[in-house]
Amino acid sequence: MQTLAIRHLNVWYGQKQALKNINLNIPLHQITAIIGPSGCGKSTLLKCLNRLLDLNEQVRVEGQVLLDDLNIYDPRAEVTDIRTRIGLLAQKPFPLPLSIYENVAYGPRIHGRTNGNLPTIVQSRLEAVGLWDEVQDRLKAPATDLSVGQQQRLCLARTLAVEPEILLCDESTASLDPISARGIEELLATLRGKYTIIMVTHDIDQARRLADHVAFMWLGELVEDGPASPFFAHPQKELTQAYLAREIG
């Protein structure tokens, strides 16, 4: 059981404020889409949620991100544990410099969750992303031998192998061809109910197809959020209406 809540979150890159007082509750086991134009801070918000933003030395974060009762920005919070519980599927597929098998096995291995049965874990994760049939006879081949679409599914399998509770997707279909993109979308739809998924997208139609809950961001601020059907049917704020009508953005 896990809930995720963002409280009074402010982020600065050096002097420039990228996120302004964000408050958002992420519903459990649903797909939440964060939409907004380029540079509105939606990717920054996503990377706050697994503290990947820490890698950037110029960044300052204030506020809280509560994973159940744990504030992940608490100095006592173990950052590797947080990233284990909150997985990421990046924009561009990026396999590790390992074989196909080792890419999926990597997470369970470093977290010591193999239970002596790593091949089974790897197979089940590759099956979950529909890649098993395509790669089962070349598991030792370099991951870079795969097509870009296959690589992104491999990356998803690799993330799922860590057994996260929450899955962050940072425009995960943006660099794929339409067919591969559709494949990833369908996979994400099947994961709904098992994982809490937070996806960033600039594609309003994708958000319409997938999201149960939508949050709209503009210039570092959260303008409006709510369940998907009322959000799209009757947006409350003028800014949201204009964005959804593609008049701005």
């Binding site: 030395e57 590797t80 990233r83 997985g87 990026f94 590790l96 410099p97 690799r158």
Partner: protein, 282 residues
């Protein structure tokens, strides 16, 4: 296109081609001269025997002592340097980032790279006198390790810098520790590390100044870490310094042996690179 731009294009293209031709010609001239002057004297005796009596006056025997000594010196110093350089570079990239301390480390390595090897030799010699040690394989390895350490470290550092930035984000997003990230970084950069190691080895096996006082010279085969050893660069130096044409010819044959060793190692590296690099992300 105007006539002027055409002429410009033509002129600079030919200038670049000429520069390339000169550089290539120098390489082939060196190889050619060494081959031409050395191949006649090169014999099985030369590579299979240490010097016999009166070798430097034209007596029998070969330079096996120097071949083995040079391989020991270069291998030992490269190993010592790699044991220092790899942790230094990984620490730079895993923990120091791009801050002031990292630039300071890089600056220090660059300065070390620029120091002439005779200075390292003199430094190690002074150290030996202070410690009461005599010229030995061990002292030679230490002096030579100082010479190749910056080469190895900075070359590897450049390779690691070229690793994709997304590698860091991807590995950490899976909940990896910094050490585990460095493990992945090493997997990505192993081919580059091998290149750096071979560059260091090539520099080490060819360096004369640092081993002159530290490793000494002997006509015997290398005995132990604490005994002096011969080396190919010094074998070339001593033989070329004699007034006897047949001994001078042996110097060229020794140079040819040194060149063949380096070529062989480069070839070996090339072959192993394709195997080691199969999983690397490009």
């Amino acid at each position: 296109m105007s006539r002027r731009r055409k002429l410009e294009e033509l002129f600079f293209t030919w200038m670049m081609r000429s520069a390339l031709a000169i550089a290539a010609a120098v390489l082939f001239l060196i190889l050619g001269v060494i081959f031409w002057r050395g191949v006649g004297t090169l014999s099985w005796e030369m590579v299979s025997q240490p010097p016999q009596g009166a070798f430097y006056l034209g007596g029998g025997g070969g330079v096996l002592n120097a071949i083995v000594g040079s391989l020991y010196l270069a291998a030992g110093s490269t190993l010592v340097a790699a044991l220092l350089a790899v942790p230094v570079v990984l620490y730079l990239h895993g923990y120091l980032g791009n801050g002031r301390r990292a630039s300071l480390v890089r600056l220090s390595l660059d300065i070390m790279w620029g120091i002439p090897s005779i200075v390292y030799g003199a430094f190690a010699f002074a150290l030996m006198i202070f410690l009461g040690l005599r010229a030995s394989l061990l002292a030679g390895i230490i002096a030579l390790a100082l010479v190749v350490l910056p080469i190895l470290a900075r070359t590897f550092d450049e390779v690691v810098t070229l690793a994709p930035k997304q590698l860091r984000e991807t590995t950490f997003a899976l909940g990896a520790t910094r050490l585990e990230f460095l493990g992945i970084l090493l997997r990505q950069t192993v081919p580059g590390l091998l290149t750096a190691v071979l560059l260091a080895f090539g520099r080490g096996i060819g360096d004369a100044a640092s081993v002159l006082f530290t490793a000494g010279y002997t006509n015997d085969m290398p005995q132990s870490l604490l005994q002096p050893v011969a080396s190919l660069p010094l074998a070339i130096f001593f033989q070329l310094g004699t007034p006897f044409p047949e001994v001078q010819a042996r110097a060229y044959a020794s140079a040819l042996i040194l060149t063949i060793i380096i070529l062989g190692i480069s070839l070996l590296a090339h072959l192993s690179l394709t195997r080691l690099g199969r999983n690397v992300i490009r």
